[in-house]
């Protein structure tokens, strides 16, 4: 019974702590719809995978959201046709590479500035590498959830708009009677309307064109509620699992692995995945292990934790299929392991 109460307290505290960040992320993601013409942003994103990955990893600096907040933003970006490396880079690096998190890490590790610097450098490096790896998957259908795949198939905003405009231009130049174009037409409303044209107009998200303010606000509200519902449900499940493991698994087991260069890094990677603590505050959590664990393993916790944990599996399932999530777990885990192990063995 006591265990149950402790578990409930952990569960509720995780939710209470995460809720503001979730709301911030969801509001931000919904307002992004409102203020930013994402199709323009998507068009500006470099097609080169390496540049895209780098830019994706660093735009987190403009958006101070932690890992509960960055998933909705990443999902939005992806659905607005931003290249996959940009979205993946953002997903992995944004929780770490943003002013609030860097400031918090600096507060915690003031006497070890190398930890702060290496956290940023390693996160950027790993996010870029993983994003470049994902850029080889040109067709996103096998890795994203079917609903997103369907959406992307029918709404390719950047390309579509471009094609549509050049089509219009051609039409104006040629001045061909529109009924002589091939296609399906709606007739009888005075002027014939080509079906494909109408479909494009209907399908493009309604934000950047001149809708009245009230309608825009209603869509922001609708989007906020929808993302709160979906991502909040996931967060609830993830927090429940994280709390259950914290109560049921013997912590000594994890802590006793502490001092060896390899076991400590491994243990910290596991702890990072299990504890699911928000990236804005995880440096204080890591600090509490500063005496018992190697510096490399603390870095492993700080770099890997924001990229992947039990709580975020739930959130990521809103975008990706399990197979892609496995890669998003395995690649950062192995890279973090490698980098921090080298640090442990040769530098610290």
């Amino acid at each position: 019974m006591n265990q149950f109460h402790n578990g409930m307290t952990l569960f509720l505290s995780l939710l209470v702590e995460a809720m503001p960040f979730l709301l911030l992320g969801v509001l931000f993601s919904s307002l992004l719809l409102f203020f930013v013409d994402e199709r323009k942003l998507a068009e500006k994103m470099p097609k080169n995978p390496l540049m895209g990955a780098l830019i994706g990893s660093t735009i987190g600096f403009l958006f101070p959201v932690c890992e509960c907040g960055n998933v909705p933003v990443a999902r939005r970006l992806l659905m607005q046709g931003v290249p996959a490396p940009v979205a993946i880079g953002f997903l992995l690096a944004a929780p770490t590479i943003n002013p609030i998190v860097i400031w918090a890490t600096w507060t915690a590790f003031r006497d070890q500035p190398e930890i702060v610097i290496l956290r940023v450098v390693f996160s950027l490096l790993i996010a870029t590498i993983v994003a470049v790896v994902f850029s080889f998957q040109k067709d996103l259908t096998p890795i994203v959830q079917p609903a997103i795949a369907r959406y992307l198939k029918f709404h390719r905003p950047a390309e579509h708009k471009h094609r549509f405009q050049s089509y219009q231009k051609k039409q104006q130049q040629a001045d061909t009677p529109s009924l002589l174009q091939s296609g399906t037409y709606f007739l009888g409303t005075g002027q014939a309307m080509r079906l494909e044209t109408a479909a494009t107009a209907v399908a493009s998200p309604a934000f950047s064109d001149g809708k009245p303010l009230g309608a825009k606000l209603r869509l922001v509200l609708e989007n906020t509620v929808q993302e709160l519902r979906e991502l909040g449900g996931m967060l609830t499940l993830g927090s429940a699992v994280a709390a259950a493991i914290q109560v049921l698994a013997p912590r000594e087991l994890i802590l006793s692995l502490g001092a060896g260069p390899i076991t400590s890094v491994t243990a910290m990677l596991v702890l990072a995945a299990v504890v699911s603590i928000c990236s804005t505050v995880d440096s204080f959590f890591a600090l509490s292990f500063a005496s018992t664990f190697t510096s490399g393993s603390l870095l492993a916790f700080l770099v890997f934790g924001p990229m992947f944990d039990l709580k975020s599996i739930g959130l990521m399932l809103a975008i990706f299929k399990p197979r892609a999530i496995f890669y998003l777990f395995a690649l950062p885990a192995l890279l973090t392991f490698l980098l921090t192990l080298v640090l442990n063995l040769y530098f610290f």
């Binding site: 307290t9 503001p20 000594e252």
Partner: protein, 258 residues
């Protein structure tokens, strides 16, 4: 013509589902406010984040109110469904989960962690006591006014126990009986929360008792007065409080340190 009951119930479901969103989001707003107003928030998270939580509660209530207003205004009319509607769950599950969690939040009072939770940790780590943020310690405070956590922070910066020999001590904390300590000692501890209850960790100092520790069952809150001394405990030289008086006190309103 008899109407199909399944179809009718699914139509009712369609009408009720948006209200489930309103309820779930509103319930979380109210729950967060309730934690704040009933002073339970400090059992869950560090006070640094109170402002954030209160703002979030307001935000959730605003979203829920606007949604409710919209539903009332557009009653009867078919709701415009968002184009980008994706869901892994069957409709309503996300909100149902959120609402269930909120209901648990209303029913279960957050618990103050006790010795059992502290003993889940490595006790040598408890005695090592090197886990507290050093920049927060205050050296200017006279020794008898330092709290347990102040002492541990101090020890963190200047670890030599002999430095404190003979200093007066008056601290409050709860009792832990780690198996490593004999009958003449107990561990006086407090939990420190840096972020939320998920990272609560105990810090403590051993107390040398004038009598046996059986008089003080685990989780009793004590105010201990005495002098600092050095003892060898579990094979390590360890700063210890030699107690002159131990007074049982009620659990403080704010049992955690931050």
């Amino acid at each position: 013509m008899p109407s199909n009951p399944n179809r009718r119930s699914s139509q009712i479901g369609k009408k009720l589902l948006p209200w489930l969103d309103v309820l779930a989001i509103g319930a979380w707003g109210i729950l967060l406010l309730k934690y704040w107003l009933t002073n339970k928030l400090n059992l869950l998270i560090n006070p640094n984040y109170f402002g954030l939580v209160i703002a979030a509660a307001t935000g959730l209530l605003v979203v829920s109110t606007f949604k409710a207003k919209e539903l009332l205004q557009h009653r009867g009319r078919e709701m415009v469904t968002n184009i980008q509607h994706l869901s892994l769950f069957p409709p309503g599950w996300g909100s149902a989960l959120l609402l269930t969690a909120a209901i648990f939040g209303f029913l279960v009072t957050p618990q103050v962690f006790a010795s059992e939770k502290a003993l889940q940790r490595d006790v040598s780590e408890l005695l090592g006591a090197t886990r507290v943020k050093p920049q927060a310690f205050r050296a200017s405070v006279p020794p008898e006014e330092r709290s347990l956590v102040d002492w541990v922070r101090m020890l963190n910066v200047y670890p030599e126990p002999d430095r404190y020999q003979g200093s007066k001590v008056k601290v409050q904390g709860f009792v832990i009986h780690p198996p490593e300590l004999g009958k003449e000692h107990l561990l006086l501890a407090r939990f420190v929360i840096t972020c939320c209850a998920a990272d609560a960790y105990p810090v403590g100092l051993p107390v040398k008792l004038p009598e046996t520790s059986e008089q003080y069952p685990p989780d009793t809150w004590l105010e201990v007065e005495g002098q600092m001394t050095t003892e060898i405990i579990a094979g390590k030289r360890q700063l210890t409080i030699a107690a002159k008086s131990l007074r049982k006190i009620p659990q403080p309103k704010n049992p955690y340190s931050y």
